[in-house]
């Protein structure tokens, strides 16, 4: 018996020693010394009881709830962002960037001057130029070009502002996606959504601030880092929800666990946590208590907001949703619901846009048309539905891929491909933004006659980021986070706000 007690005591001591990390030790020392000094001044005050109280008063709301909202430095219209990313890189030449001249050169060798010093993912030797495979028309009052691959989209063309000459320095999916979402082609930086939730928090206390929805049968090549929090606290990373099955894995209580039992479990855990807090006065513990309670509330709130069955029939028809399946249309409707409920940043990824021409589904004239059909109605419906609810004024919608595609037909292995395809191309591609603070019907930037490079209004990925942050009320040069001894920015040392597309 005595042995057993000794063993237990040993174990308890070991546990306590483990719990006291170096950081706690140093903190305690500092508090202890401060406390000692205080106690000698205010005789009769016990430093052990006064110290935690003192620190408690110094906590900000953020220490206790990392998603507590913060005011942006500058006022902004935009409360939420919906970012639609077409993973694999859509062909701007078949969707929005109309190049009639390219048609004239269809089938001719690409001029050497264009190829010199350029790297392509697959193109070898001298590829042949390929004219646009879609038919284009100027639509709306703005007269911006939209192809017949996007027949519904013309209805909202006057709502969006095009960026026709975006460029990136990456030509492979993974790094390019990372660059597009974190401002760096290398791992380790926080994504835009993480920056936004870190900087602004999120109003709805029952839902995550940054939600990610994927469709197209695959997640982006760059993996979850494209919605990762990098060096920001991990609470700011994107929460991936699913439109099929449980919206969040393991959100349901296990069989036999009732809501009441769950509540008392969490209460018990939090009671212990509170005791730990009284002992160590570590704000991380309070944040953890908060997270448990939020998770408990989310168990009810998330399935509710993620359920599209309760939407009226006309809305379901407008989006073209397929309840129970994983689809971009479902995700668009969910994005609207989430934004309506105050979620700060909704990130949609649709996979399957890598149209090299190596397979039928990856062909410019067939596969791409199918992909366009899958997004055309949902995106149009999303903009219209946000608009009719008065939400478009307060939501920024961004559409794009990680790069664009070549005006040349791909000739992988210097051979003719089975289908028509285009290779990766970062020199010039199209993105658009719509919603709060964006100039309706604007078109900024121009590419050369064959759509190879930007010749006017070239903007970089950093510029796009600077613009998104600006719309959320940040100056991208002032919005920093200190890590490893220096301040980091989403836009690193670059980026200029694209004023031309701002209202």
């Amino acid at each position: 018996m005595k042995d057993l007690i000794d063993k237990l005591i040993q174990e308890k001591l070991a546990r306590e020693a483990e719990a006291k990390t170096r950081r706690h030790f140093i903190k305690n020392c500092a508090q202890g010394i401060g406390g000692l000094a205080l106690s000698s001044i205010f005789a009769g005050c016990d430093p052990l009881t006064t110290a935690p109280k003192k620190t408690q008063a110094a906590f900000s709301e953020r220490d206790l709830n990392p998603l507590a909202t913060l005011a942006p430095p500058y006022s902004s219209k935009v409360k939420s962002v919906i970012y639609l990313h077409m993973a694999g890189a859509p062909s701007q030449l078949e969707m929005f960037d109309y190049k009639p001249e390219l048609q004239k050169f269809d089938g001719q060798d690409c001029p050497q001057s264009l190829l010199e010093g350029k790297k392509f993912a697959f193109i070898k030797g001298t590829p042949k130029l390929m004219g646009p495979q879609a038919k284009f028309k100027q639509e709306g009052e703005s007269g911006n070009w939209v192809s017949d691959y996007m027949p519904h989209f013309k209805k909202v063309v006057d709502e969006v502002a095009f960026l026709k000459a975006v460029h990136t320095d990456q030509f492979n999916h993974g790094p390019a996606q990372l660059f597009m979402h974190t401002g760096s082609a290398r791992l380790g930086r926080p994504s835009i959504g993480s920056w936004a939730t870190y900087g602004l928090g999120s109003a709805n206390q029952n839902l995550p601030g940054f939600v990610v929805l994927t469709s197209g049968g695959n997640t982006p090549d760059a993996g979850k880092s494209v919605w990762g929090s990098g060096f920001l606290p991990s609470v700011y990373q994107g929460v991936q929800c699913r439109s099929k099955g449980d919206p969040v894995l393991y959100i349901k209580d296990p069989d036999g666990v009732t809501r009441d039992l769950k509540k008392s479990t969490i209460d018990a855990i939090n009671k212990i946590n509170k005791q730990e807090y009284l002992k160590y006065a570590d704000p991380e513990i309070l944040a953890r208590i908060n997270q448990y309670e939020m998770a408990y509330r989310m168990q009810i709130a998330v399935p509710e907001v993620m359920n599209i069955n309760n939407e009226p029939e006309n809305i379901k028809q407008m989006f073209g949703v397929e309840p129970g399946k994983e689809s971009f249309a479902n995700n668009c409707l969910l994005a609207r619901k989430l934004v309506e409920d105050g979620v700060r940043f909704v990130q949609l990824f649709d996979w399957g846009w890598d149209t090299h021409g190596n397979v039928r589904s990856g062909s410019i004239d067939m596969g791409l048309r199918n992909k366009c059909r899958e997004i055309d109605r949902p995106i149009t419906a999303l903009l219209l539905d946000l608009k009719q609810r008065g939400l478009l004024d307060e939501t920024l919608v961004v559409w794009g891929g990680e790069f664009g595609r070549t005006p040349m037909q791909e000739n992988r292995g210097n051979k003719k491909m089975a289908y028509k395809g285009r290779d990766h191309h970062g020199d010039a591609f199209t993105m658009w933004m719509a919603g709060g603070g964006i100039k309706k019907g604007a078109c900024h930037g121009k590419t050369d006659d064959i759509g190879f490079s930007g010749i006017e209004g070239k903007v970089s990925v950093h510029d796009v980021h600077a613009t998104i942050l600006q719309q959320l009320g940040f100056d991208h040069e002032e919005f920093t986070y200190e890590f490893q001894g220096r301040n980091f920015r989403l836009t690193d040392v670059e980026g200029e706000v694209i004023k031309e597309i701002l209202a």
């Binding site: 909202t69 006022s75 902004s76 219209k77 109003a203 009719q388 609810r389």
Partner: protein, 464 residues
């Protein structure tokens, strides 16, 4: 050894207070001793210890000077006066303890010595303070009028007020270049200081240049010291302004360069100067209002905000630079008309009110009418019918009202024409079936009834 030197040096700011204390104490005793000679024996003791600790202060002070990289010019007055103080303490000690060799001093009245001594200590201490806190530390809080009366140089930052509208008409020198130079350079290059014999406060002074000659080579910024010295990297000895002073931004420098390149005009508007708009756009005042009222109001009390937030109502500043608040009941779906009372404590600050998805009724309008600066009002997904909507027609800042998914009735639409600033009304899914009134007040107000449809197209079902 270096460590010890440095450590001792850093003890200087602490040690200096010992001689100050002892010596002032000695002077005080002398003052008290002037009639009744009660402390006579004590006074030399104070001076003796004062002198000893002054020597310690001198040594540590010298070590600090060596270790912390101060320029000799910066500290020379403090150094010499410090040594003088130490010597003077012993002089006082010897005189007062009656040492014979100092009999030459007997003729000098003690009151004179004490006065000189007091001034010397104060001077030394002040010089030391200037080194650690900066030369203007003591007088800095004084109002400008007092400063100029005292003959202290005053510095007033000048604001650059450019906007999207006025930038072309603004004066290139007076409104932009002058404020930049004034805010970043003139604190050292003014008639009173004139570092390097250079003045930058007037066009004539700028053209005249400094001890190294002219600083502007017209139309050639890269050969103009005014531009080149700012452009040099921070660690270059010739970089201006020197380390520790407010640095010009990269836009400031770029603009000064462009201004020189275009022939440094001192007269005329920006438009006449022919300089590109992009050079100025970063100076455009970040106009922060967007939709919200363009007035200054006092901040709401933090206590009221905390009280309101405790009830589950969400209160946020519109932005860090604004005192307007955005209030939302997103986490309080059971909000009722009665709950509104608590918001009255911050009524002038509320610019955006989201009470959508709550249990409010048509009686709420009487209360909303009390929010003078309300700009955006969200009442969506409530049972509002709109019969009291007239109550809020007095809100002169109200621009957007969201009545999506309410019971709002058609007969009340016309009442919106009395709203002075209203622009957008959202009436999707309200009780209105006909949508003939799409705008009001000659198009100033637009009404969105929603109900958009995307009819099926033949291409919808073609799978390639």
């Amino acid at each position: 050894m270096d460590v010890l030197k440095q450590l001792l040096g850093r003890l200087h700011p602490l040690l200096v207070h010992l001689p100050i204390g002892f010596l002032i104490f000695g002077l005080l005793l002398q003052f008290l001793d002037r009639k009744k000679k009660t402390y006579t024996q004590l006074i030399p003791v104070a001076y003796f210890w004062g002198g000893l600790s002054a020597i310690a202060a001198c040594i540590t002070g010298y070590l600090q000077y060596l270790g912390e990289g101060y320029g000799f010019d910066t500290i020379k007055w403090h150094l010499w006066s410090g040594i003088a103080t130490a010597l003077f303490s012993f002089l006082m000690y010897f005189k007062l303890s009656g040492v014979k060799n100092f009999s030459f001093l007997t003729k000098v009245p003690i009151i004179m010595l004490s006065t000189i001594f007091f001034i010397l200590i104060s001077f030394t201490g002040h010089q030391g303070g200037n080194i650690t806190h900066g030369e203007d530390y003591l007088v800095e809080p004084l109002p400008n009028s007092v400063k100029s009366a005292l003959g202290i140089e005053t510095f007033e930052a000048k604001e650059i007020n450019l906007t999207e509208e006025n930038w072309e008409a603004a004066q290139i020198y007076e409104d932009v270049i002058h404020p930049i130079l004034n805010n970043k350079c003139v604190s050292c290059h003014n008639p009173k200081k004139a570092k390097g014999d250079l003045l930058l406060h007037t066009p004539d002074a700028i053209l005249k240049g400094g001890e190294n000659g002219e600083i502007i080579n017209p139309k050639n910024a890269s050969d103009s010291d005014l531009f080149v010295r700012m452009k040099l990297p921070m660690d270059d000895d010739n970089h201006m302004p020197p380390e520790g002073k407010t640095q010009p931004t990269k836009e400031d420098i770029k603009l000064v360069g462009a201004w020189i390149d275009t022939g440094n005009p001192f007269e005329g508007s920006i438009k006449n100067s022919g300089l590109n708009k992009e050079l100025f756009s970063s100076f455009f005042s970040k106009k922060d209002n967007l939709d919200y009222p363009d007035i200054e109001i006092t901040a709401a009390s933090q206590d009221s905000i905390i009280t309101i937030e405790k009830t589950g109502i969400h209160v946020d500043l519109i932005s860090k630079s604004s005192n307007f608040l955005s209030v939302s009941c997103i986490n309080k779906p059971d909000f009722t008309d009665a709950d509104f009372e608590i918001l009255l404590a911050i009524k002038s600050n509320i610019a955006r009110l989201d009470i959508g998805n709550t249990k409010v009724s048509d009686n709420i309008f009487k209360k909303i009418a009390l929010l003078p600066n309300l700009t955006i009002l969200k009442l969506d997904n409530t049972s509002i019918s709109g019969k009291n909507i007239k109550e809020i027609a007095n809100l002169k800042n109200l621009k957007t009202i969201n009545l999506t998914a309410t019971n709002f009735e058609r007969e009340h639409i016309s009442k919106f024409s009395d709203f002075p600033s209203l622009q957008n009304i959202y009436l999707y899914k309200s009780n209105i079936k006909t949508q003939e009134i799409k705008t009001l007040n000659k198009g100033q107000i637009s009404i969105d009834y929603g109900g958009y449809e995307l009819p099926t197209l033949p291409t919808d079902s073609i799978v390639y």
